[in-house]
Amino acid sequence: MSTTPVIEVERLNLKYGDFHAVKDLTFEVRPGELYALLGTNGAGKTSTLEAVEGHRTPSSGTVRVFGHSPGDRRAVRPRMGIMLQESGFSPDLTVRESVGLIGRLTRRTDDVGRVIDIVGLTGKAGTLVSQLSGGEKRRLDFATAVYGTPELIFLDEPTTGLDIQSRDHLWQAVDRLRENGSTVVLTTHYLEEAQQRADRIGLMHQGVFHREGTVTELTRTLPSVIKFTLDGPVPALPLAATVGADGAVLVETFGLQKDLNLLLAWAQDNAVDLRDLSAGPTRLDDVFRAIES
């Protein structure tokens, strides 16, 4: 597989009037990886995604997709599938007509029935879009994005409004596409999805990248937390700790296993009951909250 980046973004700036939505953003997406662009509301991730997709012209900076400007639709679009954040289908067309139309316009070839089957809408193939539920419209959107197995797929909030079963089906379909070598760019508010599936993550806040890397690289920048409560006054602990507003004792550590062992041994030796004890590795949520604060 080629190592040339599929997407190259260099010093991207996007402005809406006086509002500077994206500031000097630089990143690249490599072939075959799942790159998650995460951020708070208004962080600029959808604007960034739209610039990379070719829906928005950068105020400054450069964006290259497969070595081309994303505005060069003939060169780029046959190789990419786009799942928009909002539906964007004509209510008076059926599922089959919608997939057939968008599929044909992508210049890729595929079997409409096969694609509809992937998203579990075979029974609704002749149904007008106006009669679909919100979740079914998201699945239709996904169907148009994966029509013809594109090399690059943009998934903007793909699982919003989907039930658990539909989410599982969607991710299974994404896994199959990745096995075929497709590159995926994802934005989502479900951090656990990004944590489980992303090869690399870009965390955006107020238009800039705060951190970028693998899940491990991102989470190891913050300590893990051991949390418990004690009956009565807090005795002298073997580790540095703080007491939270709810009275819980918090121990922050970069050596979770070692410090947890130490704490449990101390509790055993001193017959201290560590109530509601919990300990876990740093999650993406924690990194997110740290950025927000």
Binding site: R74, G88, F89, S90, L93, E97, L105
Partner: protein, 239 residues
């Protein structure tokens, strides 16, 4: 482009409201003009009836339908969806407006053919064809521009009124009163020169060179309409 046009045609025939208000009503109005052509010819001319038929179809069958369609497709982000494909902007727009344009052209041709059979053939058919093409081009340009300031299909019921009623008013004023007085003003109004062109083409009796001059303001309005369209048309809803 043709894939988009085919699905647009499907949608037109599935949407009874669009079908009735935009395509059946203009035909019904035109049929009334043809049926009472003697009465209308008594205070104007047969050429006036040809012009008013052309502008009725152009305003309601083509212009209003195009504005409503584009506003609707933009509002539900269908335009954005189409732009996420390999199709060019020109191909998308052409596909969206092609069915309404072809239907309007066929309507005008059919109605004027029937009118010619009933009331007598026009004097200069080629000139008439040029006038019809110019008016269709002007109405498409104005529709693209109007779609730029129209947020929804419901909003289109308001935003299309000035142009649709305006061009019919101009056609009636020019067709009924002629251009002996206020000549420059009447010819410079949108549809004014086209109305005179159609009237001359149908009635005859005017030197071809005098009619050809009218092509200048007629095509100038096409340029103005397309220029407005270029500046005002939006692909996505206002945020």
């Amino acid at each position: 482009m043709f894939a988009i046009a085919r699905t647009e045609l499907t949608q037109i025939f599935r949407n009874r409201l669009v079908l009735v208000t935009s395509f059946i009503m203009p035909v019904a109005v035109s049929a009334f003009f043809i049926y009472r052509h003697d009465a209308f010819a008594s205070f104007a001319s047969l050429g006036y009836i040809a012009a008013i038929v052309m502008f009725t179809v152009g305003a309601f069958g083509l212009y209003t339908t195009t504005v409503t369609t584009l506003a609707s497709r933009r509002q539900n982000l269908f335009l954005k969806r189409l732009r996420s494909t390999a199709e060019s902007d020109a191909g998308i727009l052409s596909g969206l407006i092609l069915p309404a344009t072809v239907i309007a052209a066929v309507q005008v041709a059919g109605i004027l053919t029937v009118f010619g059979v009933v009331a007598g053939a026009p004097s200069n058919v080629p000139l008439l064809v040029v006038a019809v093409i110019a008016v269709i081009a002007m109405m498409i340009g104005l529709a693209l521009a109007t779609a730029g300031v129209t947020n929804s299909p419901e909003h289109a019921q308001v935003t299309t009124l000035p142009v649709s009623l305006g061009v019919i008013a101009v056609a009636s004023w020019v067709g009924i009163t002629g251009t002996e007085e206020l000549t420059m003003l009447k010819r410079l109004l949108p549809g004014g020169a086209a109305t005179e062109l159609v009237t001359n083409a149908w009635n005859g009796g005017v030197a071809l060179s005098d009619s050809l001059i009218l092509l200048a303001p007629t095509f100038a309005w096409v340029v103005v309409a397309v220029s407005f369209a270029h500046r005002m048309f939006r692909w996505e809803p206002r945020r």
